[in-house]
């Protein structure tokens, strides 16, 4: 392969000149081949992602026998019947249950997590480090380790199959990451503002809510996205904690649980369009939220891993 060695000055001059001067020799054809090659591979994987999702959504517009007959059959009934049936089968309720739980669990997670993180990040006191590591260590253990006693703990509190029980458990299990992330965030905030507020006679509590919390907004958004997705998609905890306890105890399934429930049910009732419509209904809000906030979501989720 020929290699063109350019002097640094030359290279920056070209860049300054703008445009794309032909890089002489092998460099260019090499790039072109790679370009075709990479587009090819990238396109194949994109199809592998999109195809199953679109195929499933189209299944909502087929009949059960069409779905069973051939995967490549074309949808025939272009109406929303299957969606309406899925909604009646409980998808609507499952949505409502999940929203009820999350409208309490997410704000509570953010509030309690930020409070603990703030105190631990900003106020030195004996045992500070111990408490901090105590909180953060929880992130390393698999949830299965706690599952059996957790079930009986919630049972003893008489909170099995209740919203408040699941809300408290969600908040507790979101603590390690929230505290960890907000702790590092509060540490980066300037102390000058805090001192100014103290001089103005503001109380600690007031400083937290009116000065520090608003300043921590970018951090709150990242960790908030993380928690919303994590709790929305949680399956193991509700599948253990949210089972009806007696015959008269109503179902309070979360959406994830409900979809699996629907899968069993539709297998027996041979109404797969309903199942596919249910899954599509569960996917659409995620798609809308994702497309509107994809930059923040990608940044929020990956920053959680990088730290």
């Amino acid at each position: 392969m020929t290699t063109v060695i350019k002097a640094p000055g030359e290279s920056s001059a070209e860049r300054a000149g703008g445009g794309r001067p032909a890089a002489p020799g092998g460099g260019r054809s090499d790039g072109a081949v790679l370009n075709v090659f990479s587009h090819g591979f990238l396109a194949v994987w994109a199809v592998l992602i999109v195809l199953p999702l679109v195929w499933l959504a189209l299944g909502s517009f087929k009949t059960d026998s069409e779905i069973g007959g051939s995967a490549l059959s074309r949808p025939t009934n272009w109406n929303l019947d299957a969606f309406a049936r899925a909604w009646d089968k409980g998808i609507g309720d499952y949505f409502a249950h999940t929203l009820i739980v999350m409208s309490f669990s997410v704000p509570l997670t953010m509030l309690l997590g930020s409070m603990a993180a703030y105190v631990l990040a900003r106020y030195p006191f004996p045992g500070n480090r111990v408490v901090y590591f105590f909180f953060v260590s929880g992130a390393m253990f698999p949830v299965f380790l706690a599952l059996v006693p957790l079930f009986f703990m919630v049972k003893r509190l008489d909170m099995l199959n209740t919203y408040q029980g699941l809300i408290l458990v969600y908040v507790a299990y979101s603590m390690p990451f929230t505290v960890f992330f907000m702790h590092s965030f509060f540490r980066t905030l300037p102390t000058a503002v805090h001192e100014a507020a103290v001089l103005d006679g503001a109380s600690d509590t007031r400083i937290f809510f009116q000065v520090m919390l608003p300043m921590a907004k970018p951090g709150l958004i990242s960790v908030g996205i993380f928690n919303v997705l994590g709790q929305w998609n949680q399956y193991i905890l509700p599948s253990v904690l949210m089972q009806p306890q007696t015959g008269s105890d109503p179902e309070r399934y979360m959406l994830t649980q409900g979809l699996i429930q629907l899968q069993y049910q539709m297998g027996y009732e041979t109404d797969l369009p309903v199942l596919f419509a249910g899954v599509t209904l569960a996917m659409v809000p995620m798609l809308v939220v994702y497309l509107s906030f994809q930059r923040q979501i990608q940044a929020g989720l990956t920053s959680g891993t990088l730290k």
Binding site: R28, A46, L72, A146
Partner: protein, 314 residues
Amino acid sequence: MSHVARGRGRAGFIAGFLVLPLALYLTFVIWPYIQTFGYSFTNWSGQSPTFDFVGWENYAALMEDGVFRGALWHNLLLLVFVPATTILLALFFAFMVNAGGRSGAGGVRGVRGSSFYKIVYFFPQVLSLAILAVLFGAVYRSDEGGLLNGLLIRLGLVDAGRPVEWLNDPDLVLWCLLLVVVWHGVGFYLVLFSAAMQSVPKDVYEAALLDGAGRAQTFFRVTLPLLWDSVQTSAVYLGIAAMDMFVLVSTMTSGQFGGGPDHHSEVMATVLMRNFLYFGKSGYACAMGVVMLVLTMALSVVVLRATRRDRIEF
């Protein structure tokens, strides 16, 4: 305000802010974790309030339990192949997205539409595992109605009379599950690696180019070493995911809490749940939880040690 009062007020403030988060965390996270260790030495059924201390009996029984040992083996297989496949694919795509474009004078650049690819690839990450379970349950259907069989039959690769029994085939089921995890994860790690690649200053690449390095060389000698931290973290995260697998196995495969056919897709988490909720062997299930914890911790330590290199500052 006197110094003392201020100090007391501050202590009250600190305690006030910590008491609720700590109470919740202790009740629902820490205390159950501790109890698991205790219960793992008992024959507790979960139903009866009484139980006896049985020492290491549960752990000894675990070693003899063929189903659990099989599950452990499957977890170990996944532990190797989930991170390896996902990271390799993600690195490959990240390289393509960020450096696969036509080279201009400024050196190597990303392909056109790179942000489009990132958006599409990342999307599975926001879907719940329950959705994936239903989706791939349908894709892997064992007749022509399954997407995979349908396509393969249309292409003439599979005989319509004998479609592939993906999830019911003892030799295929684990690999089918593996592919779901990879499908789910590649986009996430692509974005992660892309961010890391873009944080490498341009001059580093320019310097490599000036020294006459080709693209492959640039990738292996420059990009990869600079990404090493992210690759390491990813290996730990994917490894932890491979130790879990509960949702996919329990919902996609046959049997009570999955694991079928005939325990060929069994993982530790499904054995644990079956013993806990179906066989009523809570003490035994707790012992499994402890084994899972020990293995997860060991995994993190091993990965972080084995892949340790000198950190490169830039």
